[in-house]
Amino acid sequence: MKPISKINLAGMLTSLVATSALAEDDTKFFEANIRPMLVEHCYRCHSVEEGKSKGGLRVDDREALLTGGDSGPAVVPGKPSESLLLTAIRHDDPDLEMPPRKPKLSDRVIADFATWIEEGAIDPRKAKPAGNGEGDWSDFESRKEFWSYRPPTTPTVPNSPEPDAWASSDIDRFVLAELKASGLAPSPDADAVTLLRRLSFDLTGLPPSPEMVAHFSLDRLEETVDALLDSDGFGVRWARHWLDVARFAESNGKEANVTYPHAWRYRDWVIDAFNEDLPYDRFLIEQLAGDLLPFDSEKERARQLIATGFLAFGPKGLTEGNQLQFAADVADEQIDAFSRSMLATSLACARCHDHKSEPVRMADYYALSGIFKSTETRFGTWVDSESSQGGKLVRLPDLPGQLIPNPSIPKTEVAKLEEKLAQLAADEANGKARGEKMLADGEDPQKHFNEMLREALRIIWTRGPIVGKLETVDAEGHALPLCMGVIEGEKMVDSPKYDRGEIGHPGEKVTRAVPAIFGLETEGPVPGEASGRLELARWLTDPENPLTARVMVNRVWSHLFGAGLVNTVDDFGHTGAAPSHPELLDYLALRFRENGWSVKTLVREMVLSRTYRQSSGWRADCFEKDPDNRLLWRIPRRRLDAEEIRDSMLAVSGELDPSPRAGSLVAELSSQSVALIAFNQSLPDDLDGSLHRSIYLPVLRDRLPDVLKLFDFAEPSLVTGSRDTTNVPPQALYLMNSDFIRARAEGLAKRLKSDADDREGQIDRAFELCFNRAPTVEEKALVAGFFETPIKGIAESEKDETLIAFCQALLASADFRIAD
């Protein structure tokens, strides 16, 4: 805890400095005591030699010291108290402590500097020719020549030599050409049921029902694909992919993990966007600048406001007490999230230095930073013992039939809360008056430190939750429709360029602007009265922006073909992987734009390709030449992700509720603290217990539902385009022993009993539901052997424990969680 009042005692300190006689030879003192210290502690950031002048300051010649940097002269000869250099090394000013992040220089050295300045700052050093200041940028233009920064070009589709050849689309022609060039051939088509299972999982995240299997044949492929694209499951599945890259979460995470009770509206917005096939360019624009777009109806207005939640639910340093630092960190997180997710490039790397490998300068970063600092981020936390930061929420327009899960309170309660606020304000005024009186009477307030601190904290921590509550209701106590999001800030500000990203070292201001990387017309400074988010969104979706479309088609591709054409789906920069099929990538990117940025059209085209229809079987010759399947000689098998595993269990047991879960569990919690959720007896320990699709499970950072955490859910604090697939014993323990799988096994057993009368029928039905096939002869024997000895179970139970144990075995099997 910081002391409540800070007293600047620079003046007092000055008097402590011992004045010693300067040596006869004036430069001798400098050479012996000052120069070595400057060289050792300062030159690294403030010298021509190192090509650096942080804060605009160099200390390697006298002139430079007298002129000083952005904050003014570093040395005023004869006046130690006016010399910023001394202020900095004495750590008198918390925002200007030198050397940075190092222990303070010794008292003796500091006294030497004071003496030296006092005596006229004698310094024989002459100016050296200045360097270029900001590091070597000779290769800047060549960095821009990197493939991903150049616009996509229309490629020539390779010719298929034989007219009746394997290829059924241009995608196939590109793939086939590469395979042939390496002396490989594509795999035969997968059988119809395997293909249907693959399609059903890939497009909806669920296995096909036995009825779908019965109706399916290859000549019905297109209509089946269209039906899957039209089903609500499509939005559920593909929204989740986007939520991974949007680092979506319903709590802050980090050191102050408080809930975001309104984040779910963004989740639903993404699901709707994919189901309605909102054009992808529009999808991005709404997330960055939805609040600035015109609207035809209140409904549209609400939708666009909710979309800006993308900028609001990032992890924040809520314990940060310094507002300047907090604002800089929020903007930084926003820059990182939007650039990684939408451009697969991290612009945030240029916060502390010009980017090491990409054509992004610090100036570009701070131009962007100004855009986000001119934006008000509304994340709706309140100040309490955990969080030092309170944030408002965005008020949505009232709509008929609107869901408002946050609770209303009686009107009398509103009055009571307002009364309490008034009382707290009075208490606060009293406390202040008391402190001032003490000072006036010459009494030391430090004596009452504990008591005053307790009182101050009582006021602050009591007020926060009340303010937070009142934010969510109207004067009558009716719950308001609210969302997380952003609006334009009260004041438009340009950000200073901070040396090494440290707010203690502001440099010159950088005009708000869209990064000048690609030479687009949408680049450049933004209008003075606007934050610049709309301009940024336009630049992002400018048809000539070389990254946006490529990055998205690559993401979509990776979800359907097991890996991206660019394997590093979140990194299209110099450190990322090169595309395996550059022409195909450009072809898809251009098609995507031509087709009005329609994700459904893109997915449709990919899954109807012959490439997608290949079998997943292993082939020794291909494996030898291309073990990573970069050339796509087969479709790789895929372990289902956490949501698919869970949802499939619910689906086959017949318990799945496919309707959207209204709101979110997080919206219904009364506490702000995630830490306390562990002790809320009314919540299941695994945070599950729902029968809805997994996308509706609470996504609390660092406190995920068991099934998500165990099966490699995307870390919700990070942009994650490609999840890990691990195989660790805790997963097996979950499948062997968890309450969730036991409940599904019981559900499946119950379903089997109602669907079939005898054991054989039940077994066949179980295989049909779980694997969309009949058991093989071998499996039949195996299962029969299992049923021979009945299972009694530990607890006395009326239940058919053998059948339940059998059902659980199927749900836990590899077949169940691998899509071929």
Binding site: K2, P3, I7, L9, H91, R101, S106, G253, K254, E255, P315, G321, R340, C349, S385, Q446, K447, H448, F449, N450, L453, A563, T568, D571, G573, T575, A577, W618, A620, F623, R637, R639, S673, A675, A678, F679, R703, S717, L718, T725, T726, N727, V728, P729, P730, A732, M736, N737, R742, L782, V783, F786, I791, K792, E801, F806, A809, S813, A814, I818
Partner: protein, 482 residues
């Protein structure tokens, strides 16, 4: 897509193994092998799944770490950093540190004592720990970046308070693997739910196998524990570790059915390493069911040992955790973390509360050191005792101290650390580290070094950048290496 450093293939080795073997060393082949030579082979083969012990960068001094975290900022000037001037000038105005001006220096609330042959000075409140002074190295020049609990606590664990980064334990597992395939390599017992929570044992972008396994429930944040009048009781030892519906023989039959189904799948296409992995994973899990409760139960410990730790004296959760730590080390767990039962955030009532806090840890930690030593485990087990920062030498009120991140102390023992020594120093009143300053990064670099890992080589490529625990700095304190 995450890539691994090229010199270190363990996470990819399964694939390598399969790639180089023309038939694919399928599970069937493996099981025949395993049947011949028994469990030892099983463990080795299983290790291909990622936890295999890995070669170190140079010879390791420590193979295990027990990290005793003292949350809240233990007062180094009362506990580990003896500053006679505080006694002499008690009540006089502090002259160092801009926040301090006006505040009065405060003498240690309890006297210091000399311990062991080395005469190491520590508070007289830690006599049991003091018995091991000649094994203990006090780091007196620690410093960190921020004086707030949560960020500093997270930085102590992950090196960064701003970004989501893997924890020290996760980096350890990433670098060294585990010694026991039947147990997780990194275990945290009843970790605090606040101050970063799971972040402190998370793996962030490292493979999730590196993350700490939480045993027991979360500790209630102190404030809430007081409000709710609830004890910080541990929850169930480990989730999903037992089946409530089937007995062991029945479950074995069920697993055999699952294995049969999976083998049937393998026969359709033998080249499916992920299915082999699943089969092994079930076998491991089955063994864990037997092994884990055995490690967690203290029933086979002698009465003398239980008494040594102070188990059976009412509130003995921390004592149990200390004993459990030793058992986990014996079982081959690489990194174990436990947190002190009392907080160390002594803004007020310092003299009585620091006594209480010391009493809550002294006997159990002393016993842990004794126990490790007599079993020959201390030489390769690094025991760390410390919190996220220290406290000011001056008092803002009458009997309390403020947070101080500019200079503080922690101690380490065993695991190749020189005993009976102080390393580094703060200024004369204990405010700021001045001699051999040791930033969190330096400390992390030193801990990794003791484990045989070079902090500069232990990197992971995430999103196009090589990350390491120590970011861009970190110096190993070579003077403390035994």
């Amino acid at each position: 897509m995450k890539t691994l450093r090229t010199t270190e293939p363990p996470f990819a080795s399964r694939r390598e193994m399969l790639r180089t073997s023309s038939l694919g060393l399928g599970w069937l082949a493996f099981s025949a092998l395993a049947a011949k030579t028994g469990h030892a082979v099983a463990s080795t083969a299983v290790s291909a799944s990622g936890l295999t012990p890995k070669p170190t960068h140079f010879p390791a001094r420590a193979r295990h770490v027990i990290f005793l975290t003292m949350r809240g900022g233990p007062s180094h000037v009362d506990l580990l950093d003896y500053k006679p001037i505080l006694e002499k000038n008690n009540g006089k105005t502090a002259r160092t540190g801009r926040d301090a001006i006006g505040a009065k220096l405060l003498a240690p609330a309890h006297p210091f004592a000399r311990y062991g042959q080395s005469g190491l000075r520590m508070t007289s409140l830690l006599p049991h720990i003091g018995e091991h002074a000649d094994e203990i190295c006090i780091l007196n020049s620690m410093h960190t970046d921020v004086p707030n609990h949560s960020p500093a606590f997270v930085q102590m664990h992950t090196g960064s308070f701003q970004f989501v980064r893997p924890s020290l334990g996760a980096w350890t597992i990433y670098g060294l693997g585990s010694e026991n395939e039947d147990l997780p390599g990194f275990v945290t017992l009843n970790p605090p739910a606040g101050d970063g929570g799971a972040r402190n044992y998370g793996s962030a972008f490292l493979p999730s196998i590196c993350q700490g396994t939480r045993l027991g429930g979360s500790q209630l944040p102190g404030l809430y524990a007081a409000l709710l009048k609830r004890q910080q009781a541990p929850g169930p030892p480990m989730k999903n570790i037992a089946n409530e519906h089937l007995n062991l023989a029945e479950q074995r039959r069920q697993l055999d059915l699952i294995r049969g189904l999976n083998q049937s799948r393998l026969r359709r296409d033998p080249h499916q390493p992920e299915v082999e992995g699943m089969i092994e994973s079930f076998e491991l899990a089955f063994r864990m069911q037997s092994e884990v409760p055995g490690v967690l139960e203290l029933g086979d410990e002698s009465k003398e040992t239980l008494e040594l730790y102070g188990i059976g004296n009412g509130n003995d959760i921390f004592a149990r955790q200390c004993l459990l730590s030793r058992r986990l080390v014996e079982a081959g767990v690489r990194f174990i973390e436990i947190a002190s039962p009392e907080g160390w955030d002594h803004h007020a009532l310092l003299s009585q509360n620091i006594k209480k806090a010391c009493e809550s840890v002294d006997q159990p930690v002393g016993a842990l050191l004794t126990d490790l030593k007599r079993r020959g485990l201390l030489k390769d087990t690094l025991v760390i005792w410390g919190g996220e920062f220290g406290r000011t030498p001056y008092a803002p009120g009458l009997d309390g101290r403020d947070h101080n991140h500019k200079g503080f102390s922690l101690w380490m023992a065993g695991g190749g650390v020189k005993g009976g020594m102080n390393y580094g120093a703060t200024d004369e009143i204990g405010y700021e580290a001045v001699e051999n300053p040791m930033h969190i990064h330096d400390w992390h670099a030193t801990v990794l070094h003791l484990l045989g890992l070079d902090h500069k080589q232990l990197t992971y490529n995430y999103g196009g950048r090589n990350f390491r625990l120590t970011e861009t700095s970190g110096e190993v304190a070579r003077e403390i290496l035994a």
